[in-house]
């Protein structure tokens, strides 16, 4: 008796091992971006309080915040953390199938790139 295995192409954008790996990376990036944003929030609060007391520090704060590279990084972290966070909520509530999830990870990644690029272009124009 011969066994015949049929290898079929996946109908989904990401097949299971790749989807799993994408999910692992999404989780890692969610943590890294979250830690970066928490550090940014603490720094930003100290900057704003400093600027509230000494208005000359306001210009320095704004020039750092509005630097194209800085704003690009902040928007990349904020964009990914928001989009992937919303995906996670849908997933946790059972509102998203594995098939949808593949698209959602791609959507989050693409949205992040677009948001960061838009912020950089806005500063450079």
């Amino acid at each position: 008796m011969t066994l015949r295995f049929e290898v079929r192409r996946s109908a989904y954008p990401l097949s299971w091992p790749r989807l799993h790996r994408a999910g692992v990376w999404a989780r890692r990036l969610q943590r890294v971006s979250g830690l970066a944003l928490a550090a940014f929030a603490v720094w930003h609060v100290f900057q704003v309080v400093g600027a509230a007391h000494d208005r000359t520090r306001l210009a320095a704060m704004i020039s750092t915040l509005y630097h194209p590279a800085f704003i690009g990084l902040v928007f990349a972290a904020l964009g990914f953390h928001t989009l992937n966070g919303l995906r996670t909520i849908f997933l946790d509530l059972g509102l998203m199938s594995g098939r949808r999830q593949a698209g959602a990870i791609l959507f989050a990644a693409l949205g992040t790139v677009l948001l960061a690029a838009a912020a950089v272009v806005w500063r450079l124009r």
Binding site: L35, A38, V45, V48, V49, A52, L78, T82, G85, I89
Partner: protein, 98 residues
């Protein structure tokens, strides 16, 4: 506070954050937002950011610090730091807007 409550806190604040973050960015980019609205929205942003960060940082602590005294200490430090940041930030915002 139970695990479920931490979970709900992080998700609820995460969804709620979308509004003050949006107002904050729009106000900074255009300057077309009333000062009182900006103050209230930035205050909400500060509180929500801390309440959203706390469960996240707590998860990181749970992942890397084994169950015991050190973990309890780290958790208390997080709560203390969060409360201090809200107080300090709220005072700073008041000074900034007045």
């Amino acid at each position: 506070m139970g695990e479920a409550a931490w979970w709900v806190l992080q998700r609820a604040t995460g969804v709620l954050l979308v509004l003050p973050v949006g107002i904050h960015l729009f106000a900074q980019a255009t300057g077309a937002v009333d000062l009182t609205v900006r103050f209230v929205s930035d205050l909400a942003l500060l509180v929500l950011v801390v309440l959203h960060s706390l469960p996240g940082l707590r998860t990181v602590v749970h992942d890397y610090v084994p169950d015991g005294r050190l973990r309890v200490l780290a958790e208390r430090l997080l709560l203390l730091g969060g409360a201090a940041l809200i107080g300090y930030g709220a005072w700073g915002l008041w000074k900034f807007f007045t």
